[in-house]
């Protein structure tokens, strides 16, 4: 029996690695085919992200929002609800905390001001992710449609707030007044210039992992996600757990938006959706909804993105080709049948070996 579990683990690992490898290979082939100078471009794509400390720092900086939205999607995934509001939450939380930060100005000492902003960001996230969650639970609405419609609304809401509530008319582009210095995160790790939000991200990963695997709520969530019928027969409050998980997920996406603004921006200036919410879906799928693997998946995705960025700036390749690769990865990792035959073979083999071993032992005793 232990063999079966080992086989499943191995296959799972091999599957994910293979899926990523195939997608990466597709990316390389695409670059090779479409580029005028394929060798240079591929070299840039593969090694470019490591070519300077600054770039390595960019990978980490990009992995930070991915980590937050990936954690958010882990919660949605854990209770089997495709609540995609993380996308809109990331943006609107960034917007709302910018407003609050502008109101606060430099009036509060840094730790308190930052704490207030995190509470606001997380609160906004929780409230917003609750909307599709309740629409689904109470009114049987399709949660994907509800959350995506909501995302569209939030984009316009954020733009409205930016335009009418905090616009800086002295600058040449649409942006808010400059954010107060006191709340800005410093850059750390010397030349890599990683934003200090990395510490928040690390703490978030640890807390979420604790919540998932050590805390009572995480336990309930896992039972409900794993077998809702069993949860019901055990007397676990399903609706509460399902909605609760989504609220926590939303709060984490909201914190992601907060960290992004505090760490990387002097002003709030998003006028379009960041796509980080959807990136979070990919991260969660890759991490197999295990919060501890989320940073790994986030770094991997960030590496590929920065590679694409480098290529984009160096040559003739637009960054968007990465989304196709992303789609391929999600599909292959999620497809049950992908390498399913390989898995069955291994399981049969393990079962046969086990049987042979037993027979041998039986012969010996005889």
């Amino acid at each position: 029996m232990n063999r079966t579990s080992k086989v499943e683990f191995t296959v799972e690992l091999v599957r994910i690695v293979t899926a990523v490898a195939i997608a990466y290979a597709v990316a390389l082939i695409t670059l090779f085919v479409i580029s005028d100078d394929p060798v240079y471009i591929i070299q840039q794509f593969v090694l470019g992200p490591f070519s300077s400390p600054r770039r390595i720092g960019s990978i980490i900086n990009l992995a930070i929002p991915f980590t937050f939205t990936g954690l958010c999607m882990c919660f949605m995934y854990a209770v089997n609800k495709f609540n995609l509001s993380g996308e809109g939450i990331f943006m609107i939380s960034g917007c709302v905390i910018s407003m609050v930060a502008l109101k606060l100005g430099n009036s509060l000492p840094a730790p308190i001001a930052i704490a207030v902003l995190f509470v606001v960001g997380a609160g906004v996230g929780a409230i917003i992710s609750g909307i599709p969650a309740i629409m689904e639970a109470k009114f049987k609405a399709n949660i994907v449609v509800a959350s995506l419609m909501l995302n569209n609304i939030l984009v316009f809401l954020a733009i409205y707030l930016l335009k009418y509530k905090m616009r800086d008319n002295t600058i040449g582009f649409l942006g808010s007044l400059p954010l107060p210095e006191v709340i800005k995160f410093p850059a750390v790790f010397g030349k890599m210039r990683v934003q200090a939000g990395i510490f928040v991200a690390v703490i978030a990963v640890i807390l979420v992992a604790l919540l998932f695997y050590k805390m009572v709520f995480g336990y309930k969530m896992r039972v409900v996600g794993n077998n809702p019928q069993f949860a019901k027969a055990s007397g676990i409050n399903m609706m509460g757990t399902i909605i609760g998980a989504q609220l926590v997920g939303g709060a984490i996406a909201g914190m992601g938006g907060t960290v992004e603004i505090l760490g990387n921006y002097d002003r709030f200036q998003w006028t379009a959706s960041t796509q980080h919410g959807f990136d979070g879906l990919m991260v969660a799928v890759l991490a197999r909804k295990n919060p501890l693997l989320v940073p790994v998946a986030a770094l991997l995705l960030a590496y590929i993105r920065i590679g694409a960025d480098v290529v984009n700036s160096k040559g003739d390749i637009p960054i968007e080709f990465i989304t196709i690769i992303q789609g391929i990865v999600i599909l292959m990792v999620a497809a049950d049948e992908f390498m399913g035959g390989f898995k069955k073979k291994l399981i049969y083999k393990a079962a046969a070996e086990e049987l042979a071993a037993k027979e041998k032992a039986a012969q010996k005793t005889a």
Partner: protein, 309 residues
Amino acid sequence: MFTLEWIGNFGFSVLRLSTPLIYAGLAAVISAKAGMMNMALEGMMLVAALAGVVVSGMTGNLWIGLAAAILFGVITGGVIAFASISGKTDLYLTCIATNLAAAGGTVFAMYLLTGEKATTSAAIRAYTIPSITIPVIDKIPVIGPMISGHNLLTYVAFFSIWAVWFFLKRTRLGLRLRAVGENPTAASSVGISVKNIGYISFLLSGVLCGLAGAFMSMGWVSFFMKGMINGRGYIGLSASNIASANPAGAGIVAVFFGFTDALATSLKSGSSFPSEFIEMIPYASTMLAVVVIGIIRTNKARKVAKGGH
């Protein structure tokens, strides 16, 4: 403001904006009748919209472009069917992944072909599907300007409502498709392949999305633009959900959403109200409609349960 002329124009704009929603709604209806929720309408429409512009521009033939839009809609549908039916990937994830890939993929393809990243308007010669003036009717006041002079695909959209109904109701394939959607075991017990029907439903969905995409890039405007479907696929899906996958109902709900869209557009031009809130109207009304229909349905179910006692 509310002159007869304005009413005629407004009605025209409602029908025009309803067109892609009707196609999307019907595409969702076909999948829903086969027992699946097609959330990839958005991506399918986007791919078709680009294909139409590019192929018509390359071949210099409008109709080949239209055919290409449909073909690419169908191919995208086939990819989804393959992943979810043959590859046993979760249908939700498949559709979300398809939409993501289509959003980026169309920009990528556009860039490769034209060197542009936002729109093809400058790089590719525009072809538009002709508009049709209906003789006699166009002379009638109010109604004439409302229903005459639309793009051919708008008329096809309304015709499609009937066609989809006819297909589901009167053809053998339609009958089997409904049977599979409602009770797959019953269908397979009489030798109907559930798998094949699943594929067919996505391919047919693809045809309708192809028409929708073509309307967007070769009718509504005459170029492809990044992200130009803008949630219309999801709104169409909601139309189908709200109408319980009834083609005529989906058509009516789609026109209602078209109405809110037209309302938003006309408000934008005529008021000082922040345009952002007006832009929200189509999405907000979709959410509201979904909630209202949900309340009505749960109340009904509650009554039935009570009556059972």
